[in-house]
């Protein structure tokens, strides 16, 4: 039963993957003329446009284009950049580690701040601590990245001079310089995550703390700290783990603003640069990659969740 359910979920997400990639490929062929003029710029003539359209294969039916693209993609070929002639997969492989490090670092920072805050707030619902943290959380959920990042740069990098304003030091240059360049952007990304994590975990903790077994543990004379950390935290963290996994996937394409502002060589700035330099093949490849990874991660969470929490398995069967 569980196996069948898993297979169904995987099949379902494969279908979504096909749809997603089809959308990406179709997007270009929806407007072949405009793609050609965008690439060629003001120097375009009708002849050169037609030549480029047929060179890119945009004059063929969408289905043939898509099947061609898919055939190449499953063999690890996402096409070559119009600008640098490098394979798109190579470009992605070069840019992915930066975005991945940013996303993971941001999640570590977010967890490190959100979990203690959530515990403090849930320990006394309605207390001053609870109200202050929840006010802060709803405020920081309303700070868009393009507002948070420049303001953090202003206060932490320019006024206090704690971090460099922009630039990237690769891990190969040592962990110290690497972290120095990665911490501020990661914190800018983490800001909204902290709030989301704190809210979720606080709500779940408050719910768990009302359970009978918590009252029993307290009645046995266990200290509030022990009850909170050993009895309440783990069963309350399931939704947090789900959110963590999903938002990590989301961050692969969600660090665009921060990467651009700090001029970090990640996937997000790759998309933006490719758009401004009109390299549509790279845009197509990267967008497809990000979307497919996101779907895969969500499916993994969906399936893994059932393995992790026996209660879900039972409910699914009923």
């Amino acid at each position: 039963m569980t196996l069948l359910g898993t297979l169904r979920k995987v099949a379902r997400s494969l279908l979504v993957v096909l749809l997603v990639t089809f959308m990406v490929v179709a997007l270009l062929s929806l407007a072949p003329g405009s793609v050609a003029t965008i690439i060629l710029g003001p120097a375009a003539t009708p002849e050169s446009e037609a030549a480029l359209i047929s060179e890119l294969g945009l004059d063929r039916p969408v289905w043939t284009q898509y099947l061609d693209w898919l055939g190449n993609a499953v063999q690890g070929d996402l096409g070559t950049s119009l600008l640098t002639d490098l394979p798109v997969t190579d470009i992605i492989a070069e840019r992915l580690p930066v975005t991945l490090e940013l996303a993971l670092l941001a999640q570590v920072i977010a967890l490190g701040i959100a979990v203690p805050l959530a515990i403090a707030a849930a320990a006394r619902p309605g207390s001053v601590v609870d109200r202050i943290t929840s006010a802060l959380a709803s405020a920081s959920l309303s700070i868009p990245a393009f507002v948070a990042a420049p303001i953090l740069v202003y206060f932490l990098a320019l006024q206090l001079d704690l971090f460099p304003v922009s630039g990237w030091n690769d891990l190969s240059e040592g962990i110290g310089p690497n972290l120095e360049s990665a911490l501020l952007p990661a914190f800018a990304i983490a800001l909204a995550e902290i709030a989301a994590f704190q809210r979720l975990l606080r709500t779940d903790l408050v719910g768990t703390l009302r359970e009978d077994y918590i009252a029993a543990a307290r009645a046995k004379g266990m200290s509030p700290t022990f009850v909170m950390l050993r009895h309440a935290l783990r069963p309350s963290s399931f939704s947090l783990i789900t959110l963590l996994a999903i938002s990590t996937g989301r961050l692969l394409g969600g660090t665009v603003i921060v990467e651009t502002l700090f001029s970090l060589p990640g996937l997000g700035s790759l998309v933006v640069n490719s758009i401004t330099s009109r390299d549509v093949i790279v845009v197509q490849g990267v967008v497809a990659f990000i979307a497919v990874v996101y779907v895969a991660l969500n499916t993994a969470v969906d399936v893994g969740y059932g393995l992790l929490d026996p209660r879900v398995r039972k409910e699914a069967r009923a």
Binding site: S138, V147, V256, V287
Partner: protein
């Protein structure tokens, strides 16, 4: 009195045994100060942005004073300072607000109408209608929001129209999901079955029985969605892919000012504060509406 006796099968015993204190406390609707302030701020921004051509401020594209004047009381044009070209920041913030608000409102409303309709169809008819709509929704949701907008802007010329269409596509899936889930919750209720047994057609059932119940819940998410649309529009214009210059936009102003952070931080701080307050106000209003109209909202 006779009527009450007739309804009360216990012969009046119930009326006497009802305790003077209600068992479940009456739900007290909190009059929140922050929600009140949010409505005030939003009204202020909307009115000022709508009336800015009539206000005694200079146009957004001409110099109103010396470049990089710090904010100061005195002349209205210079209240929030001037930018690198001496243009009034007050004027640019208000004109920029027009773009953000109009785009957010139109895209939000369009997505609300389209998404609610599709969600009703998917939830009511189920089967292949549901499958098709759900798969397309899931596929759209697989794109991180900004990436979806970026890939649309890769093949189109940035303009008010393409921007609005892109933003509409971006948020349709959220409305589809909400409306579908709510439709499923209502579609097998007794009054819907009664309507069907009385021979009502599907369009009529959807329109007269289900829609009125689904609408408040879905609509209560509108402020939250508009807030996210304003953020998305701001992100695009921050990246230089939104409304083309010289039309000002909040994201564009922050982007223009970010290189002068060191010596003229107000270039970034002023539009940042405006964006934050607007998004925060919309989120507060959305949360309060959701608490009132969405029965599934737990927290």
């Amino acid at each position: 009195m006779t009527q009450i006796d007739y309804l009360d099968q216990t012969g009046g015993a119930l009326a006497e045994s009802v305790p003077s204190e209600p068992v479940v406390p009456v739900v007290r609707r909190r009059r929140s100060l922050s929600v009140g302030l949010s409505y005030t701020w939003l009204a202020l921004v909307v009115v000022l942005a709508a009336l800015v051509p009539l206000l005694p401020v200079s146009d957004f594209d001409i110099a109103a004073g010396p470049p990089r004047t710090s904010p100061a009381f005195g002349e209205l044009d210079l209240l929030l300072g001037t930018d690198n070209f001496g243009r009034s920041i007050l004027s640019r913030v208000l004109y920029g607000g027009r773009v953000s608000l109009v785009v957010g409102l139109i895209a939000g409303m369009a997505a609300f109408v389209i998404g609610t309709f599709l969600g009703l169809l998917a939830g009511y008819f189920g089967r292949w209608v549901d499958a098709v709509i759900t798969y397309v929704t899931d596929a759209l949701l697989a794109f991180p929001p900004l990436i979806l907008l970026l890939s649309i802007s890769a093949v189109t010329k940035p303009s008010l129209f393409t921007l609005t269409v892109g933003l509409t596509i971006l948020v349709i899936p959220s409305f589809v999901r909400l409306s579908r889930a709510n439709t499923i919750a209502w579609r097998s209720r007794e009054f819907v079955r009664a309507a069907r047994n009385m021979g009502a057609t599907s369009p009529r059932i959807i329109r007269r029985e289900i829609l009125p119940n689904v609408l408040p819940t879905v609509a209560s998410y509108l402020p939250l969605v508009i807030a996210s649309l304003i953020v998305a529009e701001g992100s695009l214009s921050f990246l230089g892919l939104g409304i083309p210059a010289p039309t000002p936009s909040w994201g564009g102003m922050i982007s223009d000012g970010k290189d002068s952070l060191n010596d003229a931080a107000y270039l970034v701080l002023v539009p940042s504060v405006v964006v934050f307050l607007t998004v925060f106000a919309l989120n507060q209003i959305g949360d309060s509406l959701r608490a009132r109209f969405d029965r599934t909202a737990g927290d």
